[in-house]
Subunit: 488 residues, 2 copies
């Protein structure tokens, strides 16, 4: 077998460092670049981002950003508690227990303790199980999971002030969402689960910031993060989906821990020709990472789901609850529910006779019916019990969605006709939980309470919420981790 | 902000499972496929591979494959010992010690003990530091690192017969090299460090086999491995390069450990439209994975480097050592060394006056000179000492490489002229270490001995080698791990 050019370069890659590497790269640069994006030298994105990460501080964060950071955190804690006794977490806990390091951090809703990397993984998995966590709609990144899982585990081991914790959370969300913006949508369309591939940067940035990395160490931490992207969309629908934000959290922490002791990487792992963005995406918009750092915040665009299902069903649930509660409509009085919807609603959620809670998440018929019967759309409304409730089953057969031009996928037009002939109408332009109509603090609390019910005693859940709201005043953010375990 | 179609699908991705997912996928499938490779439904690659992995056995392995497996293992142990006190390992050990689980496995050449995932990572890093490990030339994958690091750590914890260990090693190498073949060269050219991106499959396959996974669990282990590719070429020249095979080893082990307890993934993570190969590469040749399983073995194509530098310098070192030893030429008698070389040799290794050992790895002048002076090309010949040795410095100034048409990059034509006018000539068609002219067992032993010198006492190094050679007869392959630690 004769060795080809690649074999030789690769083998010489033994340590394609310094002068020889430059020589080889210069030779390559002289060739016509196949990728147009590679033609213009990109800015030193990794270094610029590292500098901004280290320069950020709680004091410099605008008030609305602080507020959204706290809301992101509270929402994340709630979903992490809510998922904590799902089979996915049970399996992962039992698999990893024999290999865990010292009991440095607890798990929400559970008694087991793990080293911080395993704890970050497990809380990250737990927080994504219901797909009920926060969403950065521009990229569909679920920002809190990879970041908060990592730094809360760290804070459980080593005291971190609430202000520093919140700053690190915001910084991590900026890093992952901005890097996500730079490659979205091509990167996501190709098949990557962007929460895991971009999330690892958020974890490394936030954890590295709390560890006090130097600028060079932060550059290396981002480089080691770039070397560990997590997640493919093919895994959606399996435990592997929740695996991704969890592993992004532990991988980013791993990167920061190594960099803190002097483990090196390249200086330009995000932007270099054979770095992350050029390798993992056909689109690279560096300005998305570097422009407006410290003036506009992606963290401020975070949204929270009021309902434990895909966003296309949210307007319908919102309308049903409004008519139920504001117009005092009883499910047994309903003769017919007419919905004007976008085609995507039926494409994604057209299941007429769901048998399980999971199937209910893909039935606009069930969603409307259960919202009228129970006045909610939480995880409990997508249980096997709810889907087989005779009142819900009866009502869902009266739901008539009609594809209607001009209705946006995120909208619905609902008309309810009662047995007595009266009608009630709602047009939902923006459903609750959208950027335009965000969940109120009270609604976030109700969601949290519902998720924690049956896992933590009410008083404990309230205490955890209180700690989340007062995050900027906490002397030790690790108190949230300690307050949220079972039996605390 | 209005939510776009992607946001909606992504959010509905809540659990884009079963019926709804199928609906969405059917809708997408109806569109013209952008990627031609996605048009034809691929075979069930993940399942076929999982079945073969579980069906393999030591008894069914052809003798030459067993032999090459043992040689791969011995070479890997040698390089892992050789790198064990490099700064890269020192840094990683000190960073990870505070987080390690129970002391389940040792590290070659060192006293510290770690849980098996950290031990796999650290031995994997150690084995790649000098880039002196084995090479599958078709893909430039370094096959042993990700696989052996994972299963030796496992064997250190739980007894595994030498036969089962060797079978798992071969199976892991097949998995990673075949998957590498399917996407090479496009995947590598894009910027991925294929040893880490394909290596994770090798680790998961081999470890999962030893753990006794069911077929479904093995499919999931491969899926969780697919979710954790490691490494970008931009990191070459930094510690991050050695990081990659180490992290591939620990990620694959992580995947197998989770799958063994019931953690799920998708059934077609390698071949699905949004699975690994379609997402991470523009080329997918499924036949490279599925054809000839159990009849032709990639493990049989493994090669070992006799010299601790890029392969383009190997023919020159080979020629110099031959002339030195067979023709009894002394360095001080040399007037001139003429080399006919391919242009790539000067492009990659054209440094005339290296000052450090690392720079010496990129100097064909140094390589020729040190081979004449010391009769070797090991790690010691690429040290600061060797590069600054006055005899070497004097001789390297007499080396005259000339770019010559018709000379392959893996060849050299060397003519040595002595002060007394005599000349000696060698044409190296295939250098020692190539597939055509593999290192002999004795040469592998010499390499091992040289690498272990100064790290393990000679008697201990010999004992470890003896255990490697007798791998198929060992009752417990973990003996190799135990025999190779410092102070054993």
């Amino acid at each position: 077998m004769s060795m080809n050019r690649r074999s030789l370069i690769g083998a010489a890659g033994l340590a394609l460092t310094a002068p020889a590497l430059q020589g080889a790269q210069a030779a390559e640069a002289a060739k016509p670049a196949a990728n147009a994006a590679a033609k213009a030298a990109p800015p030193h994105v990794t270094k610029i981002l590292a500098q901004w990460i280290l320069g950020s501080s709680y004091d410099a964060l605008p008030e609305p950003v602080r507020r959204e950071g706290v809301r992101s955190f509270l929402n994340w804690v709630g979903v992490a508690i809510g998922g904590s006794h799902h089979e996915t977490v049970d399996v992962a806990v039992s698999a990893l227990q024999p290999f865990s390091g010292p009991p440095q951090a607890g798990l929400f809703g559970r008694t087991e303790r793990f080293d911080i990397m395993n704890a970050a993984f497990l809380n990250g998995v737990s927080s994504h199980i219901f797909d009920f966590d926060d969403t950065h709609l521009k990229t569909i990144i679920h920002p809190a999971g990879p970041v908060a899982s990592a730094i809360l585990a760290y804070a459980a081991m080593k005291p971190v002030s609430g202000k520093d914790f919140l700053d690190a959370l915001v910084v991590g969300i900026e890093a992952e969402c901005r890097i996500g913006n730079a490659v979205y949508p091509n990167h996501y369309d190709a098949g990557w689960h962007i929460t895991g591939t971009a999330g690892v940067f958020g974890s490394a940035a936030a954890a590295g910031k709390l560890m006090g990395l130097t600028e060079q160490q932060m550059v290396y931490a981002l480089g080691l993060a770039a070397s560990q992207p997590v997640g493919l969309r093919e895994s959606f629908g399996s435990m592997n989906k929740s695996f991704n934000p969890g592993r992004a959290a532990s991988n980013g922490l791993f990167a920061a821990i190594l960099a803190a002791k002097g483990f090196t990487s390249s200086d330009g792992m995000i932007e270099a020709k054979r770095g992350w963005a050029n390798t993992i995406s056909t689109k690279q918009d560096w300005s998305q990472i570097t422009d407006g750092l410290g003036t506009r915040y992606e963290a401020q665009l975070n949204t929270y789901k009021p309902f434990a299902c895909g966003i296309v069903m949210h307007p319908t649930i919102d309308a049903a609850i409004q008519i139920r509660d504001q117009d005092h409509v009883k499910p047994e009085d309903i003769q017919r529910v007419d919905l004007k919807v976008h085609p995507l609603v039926l494409e994604l959620t057209g299941k007429t006779a769901p048998k399980t809670g999971l199937e209910g998440k893909f039935s606009i018929y069930h969603a409307a019916a259960v919202a009228f019967v129970e006045g909610a759309g939480g995880e409990k409304q997508f249980s096997d019990r709810a889907v087989n409730d005779p009142r819900v089953v009866a009502l869902r057969q009266k739901v008539v969605p009609v594809i209607t031009p001009g209705v946006d996928p995120a909208q619905v037009d609902m008309t309810v006709t009662l047995n007595d002939g009266r009608t009630f109408h709602r047009h939902i332009e923006h459903a609750i939980g959208s950027v335009e109509k965000p969940m109120s603090d009270a609604q976030l609390e109700a969601k949290f309470t519902d998720l924690a019910a049956g896992i933590l005693p009410d008083a404990q859940a309230r205490k955890v919420m209180q700690l989340c709201w007062s995050l900027p005043e906490l002397k030790d953010a690790g108190d949230v981790a300690r307050a949220g375990v079972a039996g605390a």
